[in-house]
Amino acid sequence: MRPPSSFKQEFFKKWVVGLQYYGTSSRDMNILERKKAIKLSADVAMASARDGKTYWSRYLIAKASKEDDCISKNLVKNILGNEYERLTKPSSSSSSIHQCSSSKWIRSKNIVRRSCNMRRIRKHAQKHVLASSIIAKRMVKKRTQVLKALVPGGESMDEFCLLEETIDYLLSLQAQVDVMHKLVNASGLPS
């Protein structure tokens, strides 16, 4: 319910916390590690600014907190602050619920698809008129798969859910890019 500028503000606040931590801990990192840390902190800050309301943000946080090297783990802890428990624990439990129910869903979907395929083959044998629509459907399906790979946690979503999350993720990404641009400009680089 909050306006976008305050979302940016929230994101920036958390990100600065993460960057500060990174600044104190990263004297002897090479550039790739630094870049990774910056990106991770930006992602986690974005996700936590979204407050764990959406699936992609929970997925991002869970993924980041499962990261094995301790710097990023501490980074996540630092950014999330006292919300760490709340955001990681319930997300993991709910995501596991989601996972199992979605796996069940996927299984049943597979069955449906198989039966549909059989029917379609039969129909296809009868009529060749449907070929174009089948091609269109296949195209859409392929692109949906690609989109699922892009949105974090998108593998276990159905189509409608995926669109919802995509909208939200897009908006957050836009805000993130905007803030990062401003920071880059502010740190005096020729852009």
Partner: protein, 366 residues
């Protein structure tokens, strides 16, 4: 600010959205609003799980008011909400015929009430609009005026009904599965429209595959941008200087939200010579103000602010710093100039200032 409104709208939507997002996304199957126009049935008892129909009753009402519409039938999916979904969502869209809607309202009330009231309401209904209605409670199908077809009615009466209008066009299937499928497709296309607004350059594209392509490209470009920006940050600053960043952040956001003068923040972001410029401006403005206030002791002021004033007189920065150039200001400037020219050889050795002045000039021209 189109973007802002879009975002706000979306946030609204996403908050009031489904509890189904958290569970499976399919649990809100029964809640999908669909509206169409045609004939239909009434389906009760969509469980919360949505997929398993507990029982559904198909009640078809065909109403023919003489003058108004030829055949307006209403397809209503009523949904029995479980106890844990306490909130009744009451959605109606595309109510093409308000009369039918009113009728539906009546029917809903009737379902809550007991049977006598119900019959009364039915009678009222009949006398008013000569439409037919079905009563779900106790199997007394009444043939009323007009040609009314009723089949049905075994439905749980005392339940709280939450129903959604579903209108099917002529010839469309009306069984529950295709209804739900249609509802789902409608919702998806709504979201697609929304995404179309969101993704730049997606307006001209029709077709789902093309739109998905565009969306994918956009998401990828944004993600790459994030990578690139973080790489840039990592490359240039081995350690970011956070005090400046904090200050800048405050400036930036307050300039965005609270209406700070934008000029200063942009200056701050752009000019590396911000600090000297700023102090200069401050001194200039203060001295000008003092001079405006009490012009009696100019000589005293002059001795204090002479080097600075020399700088701004040379670079004509005075008018820039104070763009509200009222005539008395220019007068003051002239006067000051004269006085300064008079007094300069006396008070200040010129060669000691030339270096400073040139440095100032340089900075200000930067």
């Amino acid at each position: 600010m189109n973007d802002d409104s879009v975002i706000r709208d979306f946030v609204n939507r996403s908050i009031k959205l489904d509890p189904g997002l958290d569970n499976n996304g399919w649990t809100d199957f029964g809640k999908y609003p669909v509206s169409g126009n045609g004939f239909g049935g009434e389906i009760t008892g969509f469980g919360v799980n949505g997929v398993d129909l507990v029982d559904y009753s198909l009640s078809r009402t065909s109403s023919c008011p003489t003058a108004e519409v030829k055949v307006v039938d209403e397809l209503v999916v009523t949904e029995k909400l479980g106890a844990k979904v306490g909130k009744e969502s009451f959605k109606k869209r595309k109510a093409q015929n308000p009369k039918v809607v009113a009728e539906e309202l009546n029917r809903d009330k009737r379902m809550k009430g007991d049977s006598e009231e119900e019959s009364k309401v039915t009678e009222v209904n009949n006398s008013n609009s000569s439409t037919t209605s079905n009563n779900n409670n106790n199997n007394n199908n009444k043939e009323t005026s007009g040609d009314s077809v009723k089949e049905n009615s075994k439905a749980s009466g005392a339940q709280k009904q939450d129903y959604i209008h579903v209108r099917a066009r002529r010839g469309q299937a009306t069984d529950s599965h295709s209804l739900a499928e249609r509802v789902r497709r409608e919702k998806i296309s709504e979201r697609m429209k929304y995404l179309q607004d969101l993704v730049p350059g997606c307006n001209k594209i029709t077709g789902k595959a093309g739109m998905l392509d565009e969306i994918i490209n956009y998401v990828q470009s944004l993600q790459r941008q994030v990578e690139f920006l973080s790489m840039k940050l990592a490359a240039v600053n081995p350690r970011l200087d956070f005090n400046i960043e904090n200050l800048f952040a405050k400036e930036m956001f307050s300039a965005n939200t609270a209406g700070f003068p934008i000029g200063t923040s942009s200056e701050m972001a752009n000019s590396s010579a911000y600090l000297p410029l700023n102090s200069l401006q401050q001194m200039i403005s203060s001295c000008g103000l003092d001079m405006g206030m009490n012009s009696s002791d100019i000589s005293l002021q002059r001795s204090r602010s002479a080097p600075v004033s020399d700088a701004f007189l040379d670079t004509t920065c005075f008018t820039q710093a104070q763009p509200s150039s009222s005539p008395w200001e220019t007068d003051l400037q002239n006067l000051y100039n004269v006085e300064f020219n008079q007094t300069r050889p006396v008070t200040f050795p010129p060669q000691s200032f030339t270096g400073i002045l040139e440095a100032n000039n340089l900075k200000m021209e930067m």
